[in-house]
C-alpha cells in the first residue's frame, strides 16, 4: 500500500510519461485524400512539403506540412478561391513526450465553403521555432502567445511574444511540456515567495513601466511612502 502511494506521488513529481510503444500518429502514413478537395489540392500544389495525411474520427482530415513553409501554405489556403479558409479557429501544440517532436496544430475553417481542415507542423525539440501567422489572421496573436507560454515554441516575427497565462517573469519553464512536473519545478516555499512579490516590476511589463514613468522620477512612486514615515 505504501509503495503504491509512493509511485502515485512520483508520477506527480516527474510529469506524465508516455509509453515508448505508442506510435507517432503521422508516421508518414497516407490515408485516401478523396473527399476533401483542399487536401487533394495541397498535394498537387505543394507535393513534398506535405508529409502526411490522416482521417480521424470519421470525417476529420489532418495534414502534416513542412514547418519551414507554414506561412506560405497557410496563406495559400487562405487566399485561394476554391479554399478560402478565412477563419482560424484554434492554434495549439501537442507534446507527445519521450523526446518526440512537438507539433503545432492549426484548426482552419472556411465560412464560405463550410469546410474544416487541420494542419499540423512537427518541430524537433532542439529547433522549436516557426513563423508567426499573425499577419494572416490577427486572431493568432494571443493563441500563439499561449503556445509560446505553455510549450516554449518561439514564433518568428510575432509582434508581441510574451507569456500570457503565466506571469511575465515566470522562470519555471513551460508547464504543458510532458517533462514539466505537475507541481512545478520550484519548491512550494519559493513559489509562494514569488507569488507574493510586491515589486513594481513584478506587476508591470517593461513597456508599461516606460509609459508610467514620471519624467522627474527615476522610479515610479509606490503608495506606501506615507505609512513608512
Amino acid at each position: 500500500m505504501l509503495d503504491e502511494t509512493k509511485t502515485g506521488l512520483d508520477a506527480v513529481e516527474g510529469g506524465p510519461q508516455l509509453s515508448e510503444k505508442s506510435t507517432d500518429s503521422s508516421g508518414g502514413k497516407m490515408d485516401d485524400p478523396d473527399g476533401h478537395p483542399s487536401v487533394i489540392a495541397l498535394f498537387s500544389q505543394f507535393g513534398d512539403a506535405v508529409s502526411g495525411h490522416r482521417v480521424f474520427a470519421g470525417t476529420q482530415h489532418v495534414v502534416w506540412i513542412d514547418s519551414a513553409r507554414n506561412l506560405e501554405i497557410l496563406s495559400w489556403l487562405r487566399e485561394q478561391q476554391d479554399h478560402q479558409y478565412d477563419m482560424i479557429s484554434d492554434i495549439t501544440a501537442v507534446d507527445y513526450g519521450a523526446g518526440r517532436p512537438i507539433e503545432v496544430v492549426y484548426q482552419l475553417f472556411s465560412t464560405v465553403h463550410k469546410r474544416a481542415l487541420r494542419v499540423r507542423c512537427k518541430l524537433p525539440l532542439d529547433g522549436l521555432e516557426i513563423d508567426s501567422i499573425v499577419e494572416l489572421w490577427s486572431a493568432a496573436n494571443w493563441l500563439e502567445r499561449e503556445v509560446y507560454d505553455l510549450f516554449g515554441v518561439t514564433f518568428r516575427k510575432h509582434p508581441d511574444l510574451r507569456r500570457i497565462l503565466m506571469p511575465h517573469d515566470y522562470e519555471e519553464g513551460h508547464p504543458l511540456r510532458k517533462d514539466f512536473p505537475l507541481r512545478g519545478r520550484f519548491s512550494r516555499a519559493e513559489q509562494t515567495r514569488r507569488a507574493l512579490d510586491q515589486s513594481v516590476e513584478h506587476s508591470y511589463i517593461a513597456e508599461e513601466m516606460d509609459l508610467g514613468r514620471d519624467p522627474q522620477q527615476a522610479t515610479p512612486i509606490i503608495g506606501t511612502k506615507d505609512r513608512d514615515e
Binding site: 470519421g58 495549439t92 507534446d95 496544430v105 475553417f109 505537475l182
Partner: protein
C-alpha cells in the same frame, strides 16, 4: 436589425449618424479655445479585483485625458492549468474539470467535452441522450445570457434588469440542482450518456420556466431596448466590420452582430440541430447595441428550441448499452458477476481510446467552443486536452475595439463581449 427603430445621438459625435448621414444634435456646438495644457499620457490600472471587469481581468490603459489610447489586458489570475490536470485523469474523471471553466454555462462545457471524446471513439449516443443534451445546452445558453444581460445593464447604470435576470437565473439554478445535485458544478455528463436520467417531474419544472420566462424577457426588453441612456451608451460604441471580425477570431453573438451568419449549430450541425426550427439573429453595425439585440433574440430562439426539444423527448435508455463504456446499474453490479467485472474494469482502467485526434466545435454561449483531444492507441487518458476558449479569442480584440473610446466606453465594450475569466485562464 428591424428592432433598431430609435437612433439616438447624445452629442458625443454630433455630426454623424449610424448610417453615415448627418444627424441634428440636441447639443449646440460651442467654441472654447483649447487651453494649452500639458498633454502627457497617463497610465491607469483597472482590476484585477474590479467588478466592472467581470472577473479577475486586469486592464492597463494608457489614457490621454479620458480617451483610451491603448489597452494592455493581463490575464491568467485564475489559471489552474486544467489542460495539464486533464492529462492525469481518465476520460470520465476530466468531466468535473470542464464545468469549473465556464461556471456561467457549466452544462454546455460538460456536453462539449464528452461529445468530443465520443466522436473520437466513434460512440453514437442514444436518441434520448441527444435530446437531453440539447435541452441542457439551450437551457444554459439562456442561463449565461441572463448573467451577461444583468451585469452589462449594471455597467451602464441600469439596476433593475439585473434583479429581473437573476430571479430567472435562480429558477435555472434550481433545475440544475434537481437534475445534477449541484447548482454550478454540475458534472452531469459521462462518456456514452449522462450521470443520471432526468428525474421525475423535471420536464414540468422546465415547462413552467418556459411558460413564464418570455414575459420577464419582454419586461427587460422594454426597460433596455429603447432606453435612451442604454442606446446612448451602446450604439456606435466598439464597432467592428465583418471582415475584421472574422479575421480576428470573433465567434458567437459578437460575430453575428457584425452581420456574419456563422453559427456552429447551422454550419457544422450536431445532435440533429438541422431538424430543429430556429433562426440565427444577425446584426448590421457590429457595435455593443447589436450584440445586445443578438443575445436577446438568441434567448427567444433558445426558448423555442427548448419547447421543440421537450416535445420530441423520446423514451428509452439514456446511456449506450455497451458494458465497455457505460457503468452497469448498482443492482446488477451487486448481483451479477459480469457486471461487477465491467464496473471494476471501467473504474480502475477507464475506456480505451483509438489513436488519433479530434477537434469538435459546438456553439457555446460565448462563441465557438472547441474541444481538441489527442489520444494514443488504447489510451485511457488524454495525451493532450485542449479547450478552444471563445472568450479568450473574443477578448483579444478588446485593445482594437477600445482604442480612441472613453474609459466608460471601455467598460461597456468589455461587458458587451461577454467574457468569463474561468474559461479564459483555464
Amino acid at each position: 436589425m428591424s428592432k433598431r427603430t430609435v437612433e439616438f445621438n447624445v452629442g458625443r459625435n454630433p455630426e454623424m449618424g449610424v448610417d453615415g448621414s448627418v444627424v441634428d444634435s440636441p447639443i449646440l456646438p460651442f467654441d472654447i479655445p483649447e487651453p494649452d495644457l500639458d498633454t502627457e499620457n497617463m497610465l491607469i490600472n483597472i482590476g484585477p479585483q474590479h467588478p466592472a471587469t467581470h472577473g479577475v481581468l486586469r486592464l492597463v490603459c494608457e489614457l490621454d485625458g479620458e480617451t483610451v489610447k491603448r489597452v494592455i489586458p493581463h490575464i491568467g489570475y485564475l489559471h489552474s492549468s486544467f489542460e495539464k490536470l486533464g492529462e492525469y485523469r481518465t476520460w470520465n474523471q476530466v468531466v468535473p474539470l470542464t464545468d469549473r471553466m465556464d461556471y456561467l454555462a457549466p452544462l454546455i462545457y460538460n456536453c462539449a467535452y464528452v461529445m468530443t471524446v465520443e466522436k473520437l471513439m466513434g460512440i453514437e449516443v442514444t436518441e434520448r441522450c441527444k435530446v437531453v443534451r440539447v435541452i441542457c445546452m439551450e437551457m444554459d445558453r439562456i442561463f449565461s445570457h441572463l448573467l451577461w444581460l444583468g451585469t452589462t445593464a449594471i455597467d451602464v447604470g441600469a439596476f433593475t434588469p439585473f434583479l429581473y435576470a437573476f430571479q430567472e437565473r435562480e429558477r435555472i439554478y434550481q433545475l440544475h440542482e434537481a437534475f445534477t445535485g449541484a447548482r454550478i458544478t454540475t458534472s452531469a455528463t459521462r462518456v456514452g450518456g449522462m450521470m443520471a436520467d432526468l428525474p421525475e417531474g423535471w420536464t414540468d419544472g422546465l415547462q413552467d420556466f418556459l411558460d413564464t420566462f418570455p414575459d420577464t424577457l419582454e419586461e427587460i426588453d422594454r426597460l433596455l431596448t429603447r432606453n435612451q441612456i442604454h442606446i446612448g451608451r451602446s450604439q456606435g460604441i466598439g464597432a467592428i466590420s465583418a471582415e475584421d471580425a472574422i479575421n480576428s477570431g470573433f465567434t458567437g453573438a459578437n460575430l453575428r452582430a457584425c452581420g456574419v451568419d456563422y453559427d456552429v449549430r447551422k454550419d457544422q450541425p450536431y445532435y440533429d440541430y438541422e431538424t430543429y426550427d430556429f433562426e440565427i439573429p444577425v446584426g448590421q453595425h457590429g457595435d455593443c447595441y447589436d450584440r445586445y439585440l443578438c443575445r436577446m433574440e438568441e434567448m427567444r430562439q433558445s426558448v423555442s428550441l427548448l419547447r421543440q426539444a421537450l416535445e420530441r423527448l423520446p423514451g428509452g435508455p439514456i446511456d449506450v448499452e455497451d458494458p465497455n463504456i457505460s457503468l452497469p446499474s448498482k443492482t446488477d453490479c451487486m448481483s451479477d458477476m459480469e457486471s461487477m467485472i465491467h464496473h471494476f474494469k471501467l473504474i480502475t482502467d477507464g475506456i480505451p481510446a483509438p489513436e488519433g485526434d479530434c477537434y469538435m466545435p459546438i456553439e457555446g454561449s460565448k462563441g465557438e467552443l472547441g474541444m481538441y483531444i489527442v489520444a494514443e492507441e488504447g489510451g485511457t487518458k488524454p495525451v493532450r486536452w485542449r479547450i478552444r476558449p471563445p472568450s479568450l479569442v473574443n477578448l483579444s480584440v478588446l485593445p482594437k475595439l477600445a482604442e480612441e473610446h472613453l474609459v466608460s466606453d471601455l467598460i461597456m465594450i468589455n461587458a458587451s463581449l461577454d467574457i468569463v475569466l474561468g474559461e479564459i485562464d483555464r
